[in-house]
Amino acid sequence: MPFIAVDWSRESYPYAFYRRVGFLSRLEVVRFQVEYGYHYLAKRIVAKWDTTDAGATFLSPQIFVTVTDLSTSRKYSPVPIPLSLVTSPGGGGVVFATIGANKVLTATAKRGGLTENYLFKIRSVFSLEITGATIASAVNSDLNHPSYLDIFIEGRNYPERSLPMWGKGVTA
């Protein structure tokens, strides 16, 4: 009877990155460090941002993102792409302060998102350059970005098996 053969220390496994971005300027750059010894395949970006200002005025900021592999300076899109076209739940959140300085967003249900398959090689750092622009701003035209942006990246770590850290020096 064949049983599943698992090499516990050398198998790939799912891994997710999360970061909250508080906008201080029109351009915010978020960097993620790929775990040592692994390549990282980013499969899907799930993002959410608020669509109200401090006066609870509804706005519809449009978020643009450029994904860059900093180790090779490779940009995965020639121009920034609208985040709302590749991710869900996207906009629709309301910033809400609860206990102390904790800020929470509306618990909009997660829906689908595009599979993107960005591969970042071992030791690389990848970044998301995020810019915002307000569309159909009713009152506050100065608000050209949301207060907060939550980014969740679904992906998978693949070990680089040629490394001595994996023991036998076997090429993947």
Partner: protein
């Protein structure tokens, strides 16, 4: 599987089924107000568990001064941990609405799920060791206790030691 093109061998299927079968592990917990708590579910001794998807729902309630109400806000943040290796599978504490589907549910109105939420499972192909524990370290920033439920859907892979022939 092309069921109209391939002959189904009941004997082989029963043999396989004896060692591998679909299974779902359910993790449910209530996190104290403003607190942090480790929720867990045992993989048990039946065999390894290969999870394929995670679905989940969570409460969205707080006390705004006139008793507990459903505010619709995302108060829980969690970090998934493989207890066997102490490997953290999220790099940080992630708001539940970013990875849980169908997601938010009402708690005041008899625990009825918010209607209109599609199930969009989080793909999570991961092998959990026999006898280990799936852990979810959760922080609650609401001022009332908040509950959540996670379902790990996958395949049980039995080991020679645990299968009774």
């Amino acid at each position: 599987m092309e069921i109209f093109l391939n002959r189904l061998d009941a004997g082989a299927m029963f043999t396989t089924q004896q060692f591998q079968n679909q299974e779902a592990l359910y993790l449910s917990d209530t996190v104290p107000a403003g607190g942090q708590q480790m929720g867990s579910v045992a993989v048990s001794s039946y065999g390894h568990f290969y999870s394929l998807y995670i679905t989940g729902s969570f409460q969205v309630c707080a006390d705004l001064g006139a008793g507990t109400v459903d505010t619709g806000m995302d108060y829980l943040r969690g970090r998934l941990i493989d207890a066997a290796t102490q490997r953290t599978l999220f790099n940080d504490y992630v708001p539940f609405s970013l990875f849980c589907s169908p997601g938010p549910r009402k708690s005041v109105a008899a625990g009825v799920f918010v209607s209109g939420n599609f199930v969009q499972p989080l793909p999570w192909e991961y092998l959990w060791t026999v006898n280990s524990t799936i852990q979810m370290d959760v922080r609650n920033v609401s001022n009332v206790p908040v509950s959540y439920s996670l379902l790990f859907v996958g395949v049980r892979i039995k080991t020679p030691e645990t299968v009774q022939m």
